[in-house]
Symmetry: C2
Subunit: 430 residues, 2 copies
């Protein structure tokens, strides 16, 4: 029984014979050489050989993807699982290690075989689990971000936290640039913020998750996470790309780290935006984040200040929330076509968190594009509210309620001063 | 006393006010807001504030860097060390976490403050230490790469190893896509290859380092490395970018991992080649590799099949071999200009290993560009030699000798059939 992971590349070249190039990738990144091998050795090596599944050449001007200028081909190659260990570093190094440096080429999709994916636990909570923790099943969640944290002390942090919590947000995340520091060390930060959460709960009646930023030496991250959890943390924030996907997987797989993990996309912009190089956002912030166990995944929204094209946002969403990650599409070796095979493992889904530049007036668009399984996430759109931070959170909750009730924001705002003030400040998309 | 790390960005925008943008980066990625703060708070927050050091705007057509089309600015910003912990993930997330996703912007340089760099041990061996291990001080080193390894057994691996070793190479590295596998598990692989090295030594009289690929779950890498060392490994290969720089640093800092580490650039092409996005090769494969402790660093040469522009190669070289990493250039806060300060820590140098498409005829260029402190690294240029693998190594050693003796390759080849055959096959640059 042969299982294969499938990589799709977009490869730019004015003159290349893309079919030949595809063949040379499939051979070069697996068995090294093929046509020179004696028949007996070919027989023996066949299970290690990469397979070209398809080559779609796009000539300039012929209805090309808007981002991609020039002549290119989308090349799909299947790599036998038997060639690499069942971990993300091994898969990435195999399919895009050396190849990433070989001219203008971008990894635009990656499909995991059932056997490969079965080695991963995925998110420990996922969308359903996070909802259960919060007791919220019937609406999008609302997350807020601290405003300024660097250089502030615990008192100021607690004040900021309480202001956000009082507005009815479901999750509050640390700033990703808040590291271990003498003013707000992780345990004290957790104690201060969780105390503020309890105070806010007396008026809001709401559960709240605080995602505290886990940082420091790679081998001490699990320890740091457990320290935070010991101090009362009920969620974690993690800069996945600064540490690698396997470290993310290990945190998620650790039985003692029994809280949801929010993956921050810091550094992702070094990898996904170029049409000619790097790794597509749907792979980087979609499939690999879910596979490695992120319960929530932040990424730049197509609405706000840090813009990602909407199609890429939707591809990330699909990777995070579709029931069966890569259940369709999979390649099987010809000799294996009739063999019975178990179903692909069902990884829990991850909450998409489109972020940056979000204000209440964008909520109708967010729900239109993402449905209810989304986390509406705001910083300036909460802290910058004309009536204060708590009103900022309330305005978002009102905007969410309006959309779920099928009302327009402006109609709903008539009797709700918080939403009205937000719309006056930032406008509304309906 | 304030210490600052300095990031230089190339930022593309047709219309932006780059001075304003620089200011907003310096504030936004540090204290969050500034002009709105009351004077008393400004005083308190000043030590956390990022500083714009310079903004050089380049208008289209005005003698621009060849790679960069359109209007851009090179922006230098100093970030106070007090804002982040002294580790590479924290520095990268601070200076390029969110910013990487903010339009067309590339991190083109990163300068470490002495205080920041002093937290790093750097390479444990470095150029001098690797030379001492090999007993070779008067010439460039020669490294070779296995040909096909996936799907082969220990016998075949041992045969390939012996062929390479017999040709007089100084180092042999695993293929970076050879992971832990039942045919050639790491300990058996080390035993087999080191035995082949001892056999070859009987004829060559040479020491040889075998860099075995350390792979697997992130938290088990150190254990895996020690297993390999226990079995006799005298060097390691590591896919740094698949695991992150801090994991590299931890391996290099581990007192029980007392062998040189060669850093493979796998996946680097997803980050450095675009002029508009990502992280420059000199930062990624130069400064950060040395800081995190790589004794040898592989990267695509400007000569061969996988091409990097020569200026980038030279920038990598400078970062790896210059005596004092970022000793000049450093920014100090104005209030601190007269204060005494210790010298920047002296990190050991790292061996540059320009790779891919190298044949003996390129040796004069390699030595002209890199000097003697370089590792000449070849795969096909050794295995593909018309007279066999051992002759391939010999041809390289002869090419190196020729250059050091000030002879042309063609003259030197007259009495040396191995070099002659190589030149006939691949040509020579003189």
């Amino acid at each position: 029984m042969s299982d294969y992971c499938v990589a799709t590349y977009r490869c730019f070249d004015e003159n290349a014979n893309f079919h030949k190039k595809a063949q040379s990738i499939a051979v070069g990144l697996t068995v090294g050489s093929w046509t020179e091998l004696p028949a007996a050795q070919q027989k023996q090596m066949e299970k290690h050989l990469g397979r070209v599944l398809s080559v779609e050449v796009s000539e300039p001007g012929a209805g090309q993807d808007g981002n991609a200028a020039g002549r290119y081909a989308d090349i799909r190659i299947a790599y036998p699982d038997v060639n690499f260990s069942a971990d993300i570093p091994a898969l990435l190094v195999t399919v895009f290690g050396k190849l990433s440096m070989d001219g203008a080429i971008k990894l635009i999709d990656l499909q995991f075989s059932p056997a490969f994916a079965s080695g991963f636990g995925g998110p420990k909570f996922g969308i359903a689990g996070v909802r259960d923790l919060l007791g919220v099943h019937d609406r999008p969640l609302l997350m807020s971000i601290f405003k300024s944290v660097v250089g502030h002390d615990l008192d100021e942090l607690g004040r900021q936290f309480y202001g956000q919590a009082a507005g009815g947000v479901d999750l509050i995340k640390d700033d990703e640039i808040l590291f271990e520091n003498p003013l707000t060390p992780i345990e004290k930060r957790v104690e201060t913020c969780m105390a503020a959460a309890r105070r806010a709960r007396e008026t809001t009646g709401q559960q709240l998750l605080y995602a505290v930023n886990v940082t420091g030496p790679a081998s001490k991250l699990a320890e740091q996470a457990k320290k935070a959890i010991g101090a009362g943390a009920n969620a974690l924030l993690f800069n996945v790309l600064a540490y690698g996907f396997d470290t993310m997987r290990e945190l998620a797989a650790d039985p003692d780290i029994n809280v949801p993990i929010a993956a921050h996309p810091a550094l992702a912009g070094a990898l996904y935006p170029s049409p000619h190089y790097g790794i597509a956002a749907s792979v980087l912030l979609g499939k690999l984040m879910r596979l490695s166990g992120a319960d929530l995944v932040l990424f730049p929204s197509p609405y706000g200040s840090v813009v990602m094209p909407k199609a890429e946002n939707m591809a990330i969403r699909h990777a995070l929330v579709t029931e069966q990650l890569d259940g369709d599409y999979l390649y099987r070796a010809p000799d294996d076509a009739g063999a019975p095979r178990g179903p692909a493992p069902q990884l829990r889904t991850s909450f998409p968190v489109p972020s940056a530049g979000i204000h209440p007036g964008l909520v109708p668009w967010i729900i239109r594009d993402f449905g209810q399984d989304v986390v509406v996430n705001a910083g300036g759109g909460i802290h910058g509210h004309p009536l204060g931070t708590a009103a900022g959170g309330q305005a978002f909750r009102q905007a969410i309620d309006a959309v779920l009730e099928g009302r327009t924001l402006s109609a709903y705002a008539e009797t709700r001063p918080e939403l009205r003030a937000a719309i006056e400040r930032w406008g509304a998309k309906e």
